[in-house]
């Protein structure tokens, strides 16, 4: 078993968690370890609850996992909510100047490790509150047996622009945290790491969408800020000038996509990225790109819907929207990249398909894939990527006869002349048109012309599918169960299969990257031989399973679905697969852990965050017609019992808050 160690950091927005997580991750990725991290955050600038996990391993890991060895709690809330998740042999590190860690919250074999930050740093001058994180990181270096110099090096790079004095202060703080831990604690990691020394890049999917686009010769990027697509814009804005591309933040997504199409029409490689709400505004123009046969690449980074939904949470709920975007039938490609590195290559491929086949390519990502950072192989991203622009007409001699922009060809692809090429003038009309671009929508109309031009456009899809690699089954062909996923869940399904295998359950895995056009024949051939089919999707209604049925006539036996905003973890998929194999029905009841989280929500919205849940027990519902969770709430500071909250086990309704004592004054 490869060594691995997962560190969780919990706090509020504004506590600087993401920076600390980055420092931690880079300090180990620079020494050759693998890292996969996930930041669970909220749509607020300050406050709320932020929960970041950093999984460190000697071998490649495909998700942030579901284990926790060390918790760094930056506030009381984080101690209460995450201390129970720490595994035996683990620890909770917390700033003991500011709050306490109740031993009753800790599992067996988990130790509280108080850090008196003021005392530790008393000789280091005036500290910003955010520097408590650096003290904790120093202690982490000792506890997890990481490399102190590597982390000091990351801090030096981070604060380079602030001068040597700031770097020195931060390194001293790091040292103080390390020294304090060394004196009083014992390392949690049993053995030293086997550092390979290879400096691994640490990147998010959004960064690689941007980098892939730039490498592929994208010269125009337009966007309107929208979580979780905004970091593509940030990257483009800060690198655009150096890489020679125009970056335009527009007034809305209507302008964003139309500008990109205008640029694509004029002949540059153009891209834009957005999330579900913005994509909804773009749909009319995407059909336009299909109609006028203009290349454009649109990235849709899904977040929890519907409507504004949960902007900072992940979901795969926009498949129906992306597939159904815009009126009428038109050729387009939909690609769902399957991991971080694939974000780079899928973008490169998208530009080539868009130009060769003169159509919109829609890349469907999600918050998890776009925002979680992980280490990638140093040689995974080549820069000399293929740039295939398709059939271009660069000049049109007079004797050639009229240039037909939409010439009906056997492949459906009509050689494209860019505006400004003398002798090739044509009109790109969103109205239906003939080969030369003359509209057939007003005084001239012609059903056969319409039929043939529609067939010509759609014919291009036959060429596209021949270029796309069909999906392959991973794992033993004769396994009793097949997990079927699409897009971002590839890694977590792979790890779930490993968990199942460790428990003696063989499985295989079919993962879909090319949503449209769909390899219906290949997929049908593969699935016909499989036994129990389980779809794995991060949405409520199993949108992909429905699509699979439409394309192949094959119905999955059951789906494992998640729509609570958080990404899958391997254990969840493995447990659900076991349930399905055992023939047990799905249980959607409120669990004890759910009841605890719901109680926290009630405390925050109704009780000014002054209480916390303590004892939780199951009880008869009496008048409520369902069983209840009785959640005892105690005062956060004194531990005094405040009252009881009654939560329906089936419905999740908060039936009653029954305070024991008079309201606080």
């Amino acid at each position: 078993m490869a060594r691995e160690f997962t560190i969780g950091i919990g706090g509020a927005a504004g506590d600087g968690l993401d920076k600390s997580g980055d420092t931690l991750a880079k300090s180990v990725s620079r020494r050759g370890l693998h890292v996969c991290a996930y930041n669970s955050y909220q749509s607020v600038i300050r406050g709320g609850h932020i929960w970041l996990r950093v999984r460190i391993s000697e071998q490649k890991v495909y998700s942030h996992g579901d284990r926790l060895h060390l918790l760094i709690a930056l506030n009381q809330d984080s101690v209460e909510r995450h201390a129970p998740e720490v595994e035996p042999g683990g620890a909770v590190l917390y700033n003991s100047d500011r709050f306490s860690c109740d031993a009753s919250l800790l599992g067996d074999g988990v130790v509280p490790l108080p850090l008196p930050v003021k005392e530790i740093t008393k000789d280091l001058g005036r500290l910003l509150p955010i520097m408590q994180n650096t003290v904790a990181l120093g202690a982490v270096v000792f506890l997890a047996r990481l490399d102190f110099d590597s982390m000091a090096g990351v801090l030096a790079d981070t604060f380079k622009h602030k001068g040597q004095a700031v770097i020195d202060q931060n390194v001293k703080i790091l040292q103080a945290g390390f020294d304090y831990a060394k004196e009083r604690f014992v390392p949690l990691a049993k053995e030293a790491w086997n550092f390979s020394g290879m400096r691994r890049p640490f990147a998010t999917g959004n960064e690689l969408f941007a980098l892939g686009a730039v490498a592929a010769g994208c010269k125009f990027y337009s966007a309107y800020p929208m979580t979780p697509a905004s970091s593509v814009l940030h990257w483009m804005a800060s690198h655009g000038e150096r890489c020679g591309l125009v970056v335009k933040q527009c007034e809305d997504e209507l302008a964003v996509v139309n500008m990109a199409i205008g640029a694509g029409q004029a002949g540059v490689r153009a891209m834009c990225a957005t999330s579900g709400g913005g994509f909804a505004l773009m749909t009319e123009a995407i059909g336009m790109a299909g109609m006028i046969e203009t290349p454009v690449v649109v990235v849709e980074v899904q977040r929890g819907g519907p409507s504004t939904g949960i902007p900072t949470k992940t979901e795969q709920g926009d498949l129906n929207q992306v597939y159904g975007a815009s009126q009428g039938d038109f050729p387009r490609v939909i690609i769902a990249p399957t991991d971080t590195t694939d974000c780079y290559w899928a973008t490169v491929e998208s530009f080539n398909l868009a130009e060769k086949y003169q159509l919109p390519v829609l890349i469907i990502s999600d918050l998890l894939l776009s925002e979680h950072p992980e280490t990638i192989e140093p040689d995974a991203l080549r820069h000399d990527v293929p740039i295939e622009r398709g059939e271009l007409v660069n000049e049109w001699p007079e004797g050639n006869g009229p240039y037909k922009r939409y010439a009906c060809t056997p492949s459906g692809v009509s050689p494209r002349a860019l505006p400004g090429t003398a002798g090739t003038e044509y009109v790109s009309a969103t109205d239906e048109h003939d080969e030369e671009g003359f509209t057939i929508s007003d005084v001239f109309t012609s059903p056969p012309v319409r039929r043939k031009i529609m067939e010509k456009r759609m014919k291009k899809m036959e060429g596209v599918i021949r270029e796309l690699a069909p999906p392959k089954l991973e794992g033993p062909e004769d396994a009793p169960v097949t997990l079927i996923g699409w897009g971002s869940t590839c890694g977590v399904i792979r790890e779930a299969r490993a968990l199942l295998a460790a428990q003696g359950i063989q499985s295989n895995h079919l993962h879909i990257k090319y949503i449209h056009p769909f390899h219906a024949e290949d997929v049908t051939a593969i699935l016909k031989k499989c036994k129990i089919l389980i779809g794995v999707e991060v949405n409520y209604s199993a949108q992909f399973a429905r699509y699979l049925r439409a394309e192949t006539g094959i119905t999955v036996h059951e789906s494992i679905l998640k729509y609570d905003g958080e990404p899958f973890e391997p254990r969840i998929i493995a447990e659900e697969a076991k349930r399905i194999l055992a023939g047990r029905p799905i249980n959607l009841d409120v669990t004890k852990e759910d009841a605890r989280e719901m109680a926290y929500h009630y405390v925050r919205t109704h009780l000014a965050d002054a209480d916390r849940p303590a004892e939780i027990e199951l009880a008869d519902g009496n008048s409520h017609g369902e069983s209840l969770w009785r959640v005892q709430l105690v005062d956060r500071a004194s531990g005094e019992v405040r009252g009881e909250l009654k939560i329906g086990v089936k419905t999740g309704s908060i039936y009653a808050w029954e305070p024991l004592t008079a309201a606080r004054t």
Binding site: D252, A255, N258, P419, Y426, V427, D442
Partner: protein
Amino acid sequence: MATTAMPPAAPKKVNRVGLEPADYKGNRSTLCAGCGHNAISERIIEACYELGVEPYRVAKLSGIGCSSKSPAYFLRSSHGFNAVHGRMPSVATGTVLANRAIMALGVSGDGDSASIGIGQFVHLMRRNLPCVYIIEDNGCYGLTKGQFSATADLGSKLKTGVVNDLPPIDTCALAIQLGATYVARSFSGDKKQLLALLEGALVHRGTAMLDVISPCVTFNDHEGSTKSYSYVKDHDEPLSDVSFVPYFEDITVEYEPGTSTEIALPDGSRLVLKKLRTDYDPHSKVEALRLLTESHDKGEIVTGLFYIDTERPNFLDLLNVVDEPLATLPESRVRPPQSALNEVMDSLR
């Protein structure tokens, strides 16, 4: 068979790029006979001919509506882009950014610009993108049987008797306020003024916005309409007598001394304005907005060049786009320098 010797044909009239007026024509119009838009198309043909514009360098961009069909009726040998409703401004922006050598000629209508596309319109004006933006303004949606648009005047009446109960959007006032650098209003029936304003717009290097009142003969050309031929003729108050002098022709426009203003345009051409109103200064935003507000209150339709600024940087200047068109960069220059990509990779480690 006896043959008759034909007299030698008179040399055809050509412009400085060797093209005849017919080379600037388009397909036969499918709009209603007498539609103001057809007159505007004719002026565009004349202006491009007189200036010696190379048709293949022009991109005619439009949205949806009667106005947006009209690019088919001029400059047959130019590229065209019929976008979706209200989205021509962003398509034009993308096109110009991708290929700065292209001369963008946008044609829109009052519904396309002031209603569904108002968000796009105002932001284009802000950008001061080098382009000509013509609104063929008839105050109604002709193609869908004449419903009111957002430029219809308060109290204006439809044939069906429906009265417009909301005030109009003045696209010129908006354009001036937001940063367009050449803003004018004209009337489709005023051949001389419209031609001069179009020529000035075509050589301007920023956003040139022309609102052209263009009566809809089918739905909005009756008593009670303030966008009818008769109403506009009776209430048109030209600001000045406009003459355009191209840089390649050494013409002196004869006005009495002291009654005219000359504006030098970036390519060396000149606009000569013979003042009809006292001391109107087209370089002042404040004066322009006051004029528009006052004349509106009086029920007058003032036409002419309201505002011009030849100094303000345009969008291409602001974005530091390279001098050659991005669209035609060779592959070696499409890829970013290897050093830039290496820097990016280093920053991820």
